[in-house]
């Protein structure tokens, strides 16, 4: 069965970011989560009293909420959580100059190609190592226009009023169990403010790295795109592969004010021992546009449903989601669009590939409230299955209270067709080339939306993994 061998050879999940650095930290909490741990984190950050109270209250909420029984398998998570470090401080302070970042951390990010990218294509870069941002910088031209791109801790210190006005308003602690957990132990992440009318020509990027074994990372990002502004924020994530489980649970809050346009791109490539449970939500005001580009390639289990709350008339939400589930992986991803104002529009496009024993699930919500006259939404999900043992699920929720709206949902599931392969091979392609071409064609509608370097990377990944796969 040569075709089968080709399929087996589609080793998309060979992980090249699994290297480990020597472990060095200046402080870490005891394993597990407790009030003591929360107090220590707050003390380490020298926070104002209100933030400590906010954290402690969130801890109570976390403890009162049951573990979700839907989505992925979380039955062993509680055990894992008892063992992990909720806070690891890698260095004493955050650096503004790349040269000042400690050698071992710098090496890591250099291997990941971050400084090179910063010079070439980015407006600003933040890098988080374990629990803290170790580096944050913004190009002079944007700083002078009033753009703020800082670590979340510095956001709280340097812009207390702006921070407090929005923090925890888009995603309240009580939203779900993991938003409560994050609210209690958050550390690291970005604070971004784009002033009125400012249009960033190149993206801001934040990079998240977990190096320590049995580590929990809880980044918290707050972004405010003010009226008429335009910006693009990219986050990337990797970690070494350990035999024990690690945990990442972020909360990303975004406010897109009137007429602004904001795009948030995630390329999540965590190692396969990572639980990745993230809450991402944008509040989208009049005639503003929010775009989520969500790429989930790594982790053991991801549960993540970026959402757009379209609260202003004419607001638009766009969610593009691509998931790849290889052996032992479960990508439970999708998106939510809430139409709460007239003439709001949205679109969700999801593409997933399941290979080996991988499972990808689309889970989404399209809700139109009474009064959201003229709302339009379209949801499309396509799933590609590579092996007999692969699995895919689709769970779309559609709740419509408004007559004057138009809502559609479509999903398809297919495998790579023999006819397609045969056709390409009859044109002189090898099986592996044909397979690569079909898979690339499948993800193309999303890949073309990615910034060029990511699109190239994604395509290269798929091509590379197929090389030499026919014996």
């Amino acid at each position: 069965m040569p075709q089968n061998e080709v399929i087996q050879g589609l080793e998309l999940d060979e992980y090249k970011y699994g290297f480990v650095d020597e472990e060095k930290h200046v402080f870490r909490t005891q394993p597990g989560l407790s009030e003591e741990v929360v107090r220590q984190i707050s003390a380490q950050k020298e926070e104002p009293e209100w933030m400590l109270e906010f954290r402690l209250k969130a801890l109570q909420i976390y403890e009162s909420k049951p573990m979700p029984t839907w989505g992925g398998d979380l039955s062993k998570l509680e055990e894992t959580l008892d063992e992990i470090y909720f806070y690891v401080r890698p260095q004493d302070r955050m650096e503004r100059s790349w040269d000042d970042v400690p050698e071992n951390i710098k090496n890591t990010f250099e291997r990941l190609g971050i400084p090179e990218a910063e010079q070439k294509v980015l407006a600003g870069v933040g890098a988080q190592y374990e629990s803290e941002m170790v580096y944050h910088s913004l190009k002079e031209e944007w700083e002078s226009k009033g753009v703020i791109f800082d670590s979340i801790e510095d956001g709280l210190k340097n812009h207390p009023e702006l921070f407090r006005k929005y923090f925890g308003t888009v995603i309240p602690s009580a939203d779900n169990k993991f938003s409560a957990m994050n609210s209690a132990v958050w550390s690291g992440g970005s604070f971004v403010y784009i002033p009125k009318g400012v249009e960033l020509e190149t993206p801001l990027q934040a990079y998240f790295r977990v190096n320590q074994e049995r580590m929990g990372q809880f980044e918290r990002t707050l972004i405010i795109a003010d009226e008429g502004s335009r910006a693009h924020y990219i986050e990337g994530c990797t970690a070494p592969t350990y035999s024990t489980e690690s945990f990442h649970s972020g909360v990303i809050e975004i406010v897109v004010n009137r007429g602004a346009h904001f795009r948030y791109t995630t390329i999540q490539n965590w190692s396969n021992n990572m639980y990745n449970l993230v809450t991402q939500r944008a509040l989208v005001h009049e005639h503003a546009t929010m775009e989520w580009l969500d790429g989930n390639l790594g982790s053991k289990l991801t549960m993540k449903y970026p959402s757009c709350y379209l609260v202003g008339e004419g607001a638009h939400g766009n969610i593009l989601s691509i998931a790849y589930a290889g052996d032992g992986q479960h990508q439970d991803t999708g998106g939510k669009v809430i139409h709460a104002a007239p003439r709001t529009t949205s679109s969700i496009v999801s593409k997933s590939i399941s290979k080996g024993t991988g499972r990808s699930s689309y889970r989404g919500l399209c809700k139109v409230y009474d009064g959201a006259v003229g709302a339009k939404s379209n949801v499309e999900c396509d799933a590609l299955l590579i092996n007999e043992t692969s699995r895919t699920d689709t769970y779309p929720y559609i709740e419509i209270e408004e007559k004057r709206s138009n809502i559609g949902h479509e999903a398809t599931v297919s495998k790579v067709g023999d006819e397609q392969l045969f056709y390409l091979m009859s044109r002189g392609m090898s099986e592996e080339e044909a397979m690569a071409l079909i898979v690339r064609g499948f993800i193309e509608p999303i890949a073309k939306q990615l910034p060029l370097e990511y699109a190239v990377e994604l395509n290269r990944l798929i091509e590379l993994e197929m090389e030499g796969s026919v014996g």
Partner: protein, 445 residues
């Protein structure tokens, strides 16, 4: 009986004593089965909206079990002239039939079957009679393979308390050219009726079956509960049609399961027009390779009607096909929920499974919720689902009005056309006309 009062769903009328009363004079196996079903019923909580399948229907709000008494089981005379006017009218609309069964308030008042079919071994009779006369056929199928009490609170309650029902058996190779028609009339307000239908089609046989339930409006809540089991053996062809046209005040609940054998065709059509609350659970199991199920649904709600359709398509064998199309229009404050799931089990390769739910909102206050789900554990499959919620197309209306139709007439035509697609896929004699007329009546109201 202090301990029973604490169990959810056990009331003055609905309790173990009532189950024992129903068992009176029945064979031991059936009495045991009822007793077992009752134990299951007691052990299960009333489903809450926290359960996915009940997300959109809050039983605590829409069903008052405590207020119900059990419907009488005494059969009236078999005299068509004494039938209620609407029952007679709807029966007169029916075309030719292979046989009839007529229920009034849960009891069978009339049975007939064409002599030539009876002589070929076709059995159509009240379920209670079949228990006595064909135990070998009934015992193995009734509430075992298809809708056992373990399926849920309502399935258990029905299995414990059913008063009568329909038994239809078609022997190997026998093909019925006309449908079997069952008509049910309910008039006793405040009562609960439990009925079962068991259809077994042996290999290469063919039958179509139309079950219609109707009533006037009730001033107190009245429950009609149905459990439907349809089994096709290799190569058999069955069409099952259910028309629900009950009055307001009715709570209609139907739990249906179809078991399709190798290369058999097992199609269903559920038409939901009446009752204040209607809940239909349909599970199609494609058990033999090459099995085929078309699953059709049509609903039209107005005022404050609440319809909930919960369907599932289980592909357990390779090379089977299922295609679901549920379409509904909603006016007034009506609300409809559709939840469907396609499950392609491991090893069910070459599956073709489709699922479509389309909703038309005709009023400001209508609401539609749709959850079309997929769970796929095989790779060589073709599956898709689609779901839409929309309003009347202005272009369609404009076109018709430019041809001289009033707005009302144009709207009616568009709605009938929208829903008509469903019936065109299962064009059974008499059903299309009857449903079209019922929709037109609702549109005029």
């Amino acid at each position: 009986m202090a301990e029973t009062t604490t169990i959810e769903g056990v009331t003055e009328a609905i309790n173990r004593a009532a189950v024992e009363a129903r068992s009176h004079g029945e064979p031991a196996w059936l009495a045991q089965r009822r007793a077992h079903a009752w134990s299951v019923y007691e052990s299960l909580p009333l489903p809450t909206t926290r359960r996915e399948e009940w997300r959109y229907t809050d039983l605590r709000r829409v069903l008052d079990l405590d207020a119900l008494h059990l419907g009488s089981t005494e059969a009236g005379p078999d005299d068509p002239s004494s039938y209620p006017e609407r029952l007679r009218a709807t029966m007169n609309e029916d075309h030719e039939a292979a046989g009839h069964l007529v229920f009034i308030d849960g009891a069978v008042v009339h049975t007939d079957i064409r002599d030539d079919l009876a002589s070929l071994g076709v059995i159509l009779m009240p379920l209670r009679q079949a228990v006595r006369e064909h135990p070998e056929l009934v015992e193995s199928h009734l509430a075992t393979e298809a809708v056992p009490p373990e399926e849920g609170k309502f399935a258990a309650l029905n299995a414990a308390l059913w008063s009568d029902g329909v038994f239809l058996y078609v022997p190997r190779g026998v093909r019925l050219d006309n449908p079997v028609r069952v008509t049910r009339w309910i008039s006793e307000a405040g009562a609960a009726f439990f009925s079962r239908t068991l259809i077994v089609a042996e290999s290469t046989s063919q039958v179509s079956y139309v079950d219609e339930i109707l009533s006037d409006d009730f001033d107190t809540q009245t429950l009609a509960s149905a459990a439907v089991e349809v089994i096709t053996r290799d190569g058999a062809q069955v069409q099952y049609v259910s028309l629900q046209r009950m009055g307001r005040g009715a709570f209609y609940q139907s739990k249906q399961r179809t078991l399709a054998g190798r290369d058999s065709t097992l199609d269903t059509l559920n038409v939901t027009l009446g009752a204040s609350v209607s809940r239909v659970d349909l599970n199609a199991r494609l058990m033999g390779p090459g099995a085929n199920s078309d699953m059709l649904g049509l609903y039209f709600g107005d005022d404050d009607q609440h319809f909930d359709h919960n369907t599932s398509q289980d592909h357990e064998a390779p090379s089977a096909r299922s295609d679901l199309l549920y379409k509904g229009a909603l006016d007034g404050h009506a609300r409809a929920a559709f939840r469907g799931i396609i499950r392609v089990h491991e090893g069910a390769q070459q599956t073709d499974a489709y699922q479509t739910n389309r909703n038309l909102l005709l009023s400001e206050h209508a609401r539609a919720d749709s959850l079309p789900n997929l769970e796929i554990e095989a790779d060589d499959v073709k599956c898709s689902h689609g779901s839409t919620v929309g309003q009347l197309d202005d272009d369609h209306l404009f076109y018709l009005m430019s041809r001289g139709l009033s707005r009302e007439k144009a709207e009616r035509l568009v709605v009938v056309g929208f829903l008509g697609e469903v019936m065109s896929r299962l064009p059974l004699g008499g059903v299309v006309e009857k449903v079209t007329r019922a929709i037109a009546e609702k549109l005029r109201a």
